[in-house]
Subunit: 212 residues, 2 copies
Amino acid sequence: MEITPKLTDFKELETRYRANLINSLSGFKSACLVGSVNTKGVYNLAIFNSVFHIGANPPLMGIVFRPDNGQRHTLENIRKTEYFTINHIHESIIVQAHQTSAKYGEDLSEFDETGLTPDIGTLHPAPYVEESVIRIGLKLNDELPVIANGTIILIAEIVELFLPTECLDPDGTLNLSMAGTVAISGLDGYFRTEKICRLSYARPGKFSEVIG
Amino acid sequence: MEITPKLTDFKELETRYRANLINSLSGFKSACLVGSVNTKGVYNLAIFNSVFHIGANPPLMGIVFRPDNGQRHTLENIRKTEYFTINHIHESIIVQAHQTSAKYGEDLSEFDETGLTPDIGTLHPAPYVEESVIRIGLKLNDELPVIANGTIILIAEIVELFLPTECLDPDGTLNLSMAGTVAISGLDGYFRTEKICRLSYARPGKFSEVIG
């Protein structure tokens, strides 16, 4: 593929063009619905493409909250109630999941507005998405401010997990492609995936082998 | 799909099983090679699945560095030289890219060991990967410590960008599937992608439409 001459002056790009381009550069991103509840008991649901892995022991995940993305309801709810859920998005709920990014007032539940179904457990008050096949319950652990642009990174610990056992490899790896989990690129692009391979643990002197 | 009973006690899982499982929960992840140079001039290259988007203006990206992942050469190099590169991984360089995770001594270059080709620009000293079609040059901006597990999140600003123009949508969105960029799941699973659709900006009262 031919490579363009380098681009260095990002300030000169039109705002929306720059947002689309820069959002594409971090590669494929996770597609998750974040469920939370406010102090009046209204269930909030918001799509995020910024969930990432922090560590396995203790089991920790991170989420990036933009200062201006209209999703502050989720952040406020998590700060007040401490708990939230992460629910994977599969192909048949993409349109409903995307719709949760519309700016609804805080008294409206995105569950009602999109037709997705809240599912409440016994361990914490945050709603899961019944349609999702991989659902994770988390408790707030820390908040890291990104000084350069006002973004906030939340760190949270996994406290509860529901998943389809038929998608579990014997060594604990989840086959997300089999579970139907989609990937996001840029601001609004949804992708299905197909496994190429798993590769063995790499050691010097010899290339890894395909293990699944 | 049938959902298993909930899992809550992660401490009881075997270490490697837990690492595989928890690493799968954050959904699909980016597949990138990070290039850096040490003070002796040795070019370092390391695969990361933890690159994420922080913001478009200024253009910022984040990377998670595990305290124990054997990739401290990259972190030390970035701290000393301030610059590094992020290079997307496509299907034909997966085996070489994966091999950079083997523990080589600091005097060995992963470029030499894997056969990938360093490409040095004029703006900064960090090496790009000539085989990658999307290459990003970055400058260190900040370091955020995650207290809960000793992980470090680096924040960096994009200073230079090379990409294939035929993969650019008119509105600035990059079609990563067309560029061949792969996604990672878990610790060692590589996936190709296929675009389902792009969806229009969501507004209350009406579901979004397919725009590409």
